[in-house]
């Protein structure tokens, strides 16, 4: 359903041009969880932002195609793209402490995308926000609470509820558990698996943690220095990594056990 061809993103900094994503191609099939694995600076997060065309100055998408059900997102005018963001493709962020606006209640933040995309009245939107909160297992009675009244794990659930509010087809999760404790991590991963089934989502899961990929993802692409060095079924890659860099990653994980 999502096909990325030859995508390239450059950062233009004082020291010169950094090719953060250099000709990356992959596809996401309906109902699957695709892992994007890479170390810090491998371009994996930039890739995630680029899929929604959210790359900021001094970065720029310089080439390629992002085909969502055959339509190239890179050719869409900004206002049409805005209608897709949150509605068809949603995003979950790395740091749940920073991803929520401190001056708005969580209800207001979840309702926002519903009001933006579905011409819903506030009452309808509130109903849907309650549904979204139920889906991520937060007591809907807390809908009028502010972000600082929640713990990190709970906030990440709120961020997920925000992303789910409009029933998107694709969820891009950018290291959503990196900032959390290991036990909370496991809860969030279980939740992601659950909502994937419930909402018929396809998920792109970006992380540096092969352990999570192994647990969660059907397929994986391994990124190194802006390029995809290896791609395939998670199992296959874990058992028989062909690329030298992937091998190192796999060895790391084995040593840890």
């Amino acid at each position: 359903m999502l096909e990325v061809k030859n995508l390239s993103v450059n950062y233009y900094v004082d020291e010169g041009t950094v090719k953060a994503v250099a000709g990356v191609s992959f596809d996401l099939k309906e109902g699957e969880i695709l892992g994007v694995l890479g170390e810090s600076g491998s371009g994996k997060s930039t890739l995630g932002y680029a899929l929604l065309r959210l790359v900021d100055q001094p970065g720029k998408i310089v080439g390629g195609e992002i085909l969502l059900n055959g339509r190239d997102l890179l050719l869409l005018p900004e206002d049409e793209l805005r209608r897709l963001r949150g509605a068809k493709i949603a995003m979950v962020f790395q740091d749940p402490f920073a991803a929520l606006n401190p001056v708005l209640t969580i209800g207001e933040q979840i309702m926002e995308s519903i009001i933006l995309h579905q011409r819903a009245t506030r009452r309808e939107a509130r109903g849907k926000a309650v549904e979204a909160l139920r889906a991520v297992k937060i007591d809907p009675a807390r809908i009028d609470d502010y972000p600082h009244q929640f713990s990190g794990g709970m906030r990440q659930r709120v961020v997920i509820a925000m992303a789910l509010a409009c029933r998107p087809e694709i969820l891009i999760a950018d290291e959503p558990t990196t900032a959390l404790d290991v036990t909370i991590q496991a809860e969030i991963l279980a939740l992601l698996r659950e909502i994937k089934a419930q909402f018929n989502l396809s998920i792109i899961y970006i992380t540096h943690n092969f352990g999570i990929i192994k647990e969660l993802c059907d397929r994986v692409v391994v990124m190194h220095k802006g390029k995809i060095v290896e791609a395939g079924e998670t199992r296959t890659i874990f058992d028989h990594p062909r690329d030298a860099y992937t091998k190192k990653l796999v060895d790391c994980l084995r040593e840890l056990r």
Partner: protein, 271 residues
Amino acid sequence: MGKNKAARFGLIVMGLFFSLAILAPVIAPYSPDEISSVGATAPSSQHLFGTDDLGRDLLSRSLYGAQISLTVGIVAVVISLLLGTLAGAVAGYYGGWVDGLIMRTVDVMFAFPSIFLILAIQSMLTPNIYNVMVVIGLTSWMGVARLVRGEFLRIRQLQYVEAARAIGCSDLRIIFRHMLPNAQGPIIVAATLGMAGAILTESALSFLGMGVQPPISSWGNMLMDSQAYMRDAPWMAVIPGLLIMITVLSLYFIGEGIRETLSPKERNAGS
């Protein structure tokens, strides 16, 4: 802010001054233009603040003058806040050449000695109280613009702004719904300090005869009236001078109090 004595003093004084200004028609013992004695008389039981050279009651003129001075302060600050916030928000949000253009304009406006700019504009217009408010507002927005730009540059980096973009918010929505409320603290501080500045500027203008025109009284032109009588009727200068000083000081105290409440150090200690 409850712990800060100076700020509490400022709030009480400003509350008092505002109430007195609003109630001026009720409590003023004389009409502000009424000649109620012969020439300047020292403060007495009949005239608590004394009278000026024309025999007008200074308490009444101070009360009505407070209406003018405080109104000028508020309106000028509202104008400068609107302009400064808009300019700063746009500059900070969009960055790049937009930022460059706006901030260089701010630099140029800052470099220009504003009192001369105001005097020049005032001498071209009819100097009345509406022009005074607008001109002060139009020449005092730059500080607010710099402040708001700084706040926006900081907030722009935060993930919830990215999150708002990721659910499809437009630029305007992000600026006004997501970013501005998070920048409101420093803006409120700037507003109190800006109001003090505006009241001072109004006084200076009126003192120079380019502000509020007689017979309407403002604290500034009461000071102007006193010039020739400093030696014989010092109360004519002391009273409006004190009023201006107390007002400006109170506003600074309030601003400082809010700033302290907002600073992270203080906030952690409080909670």
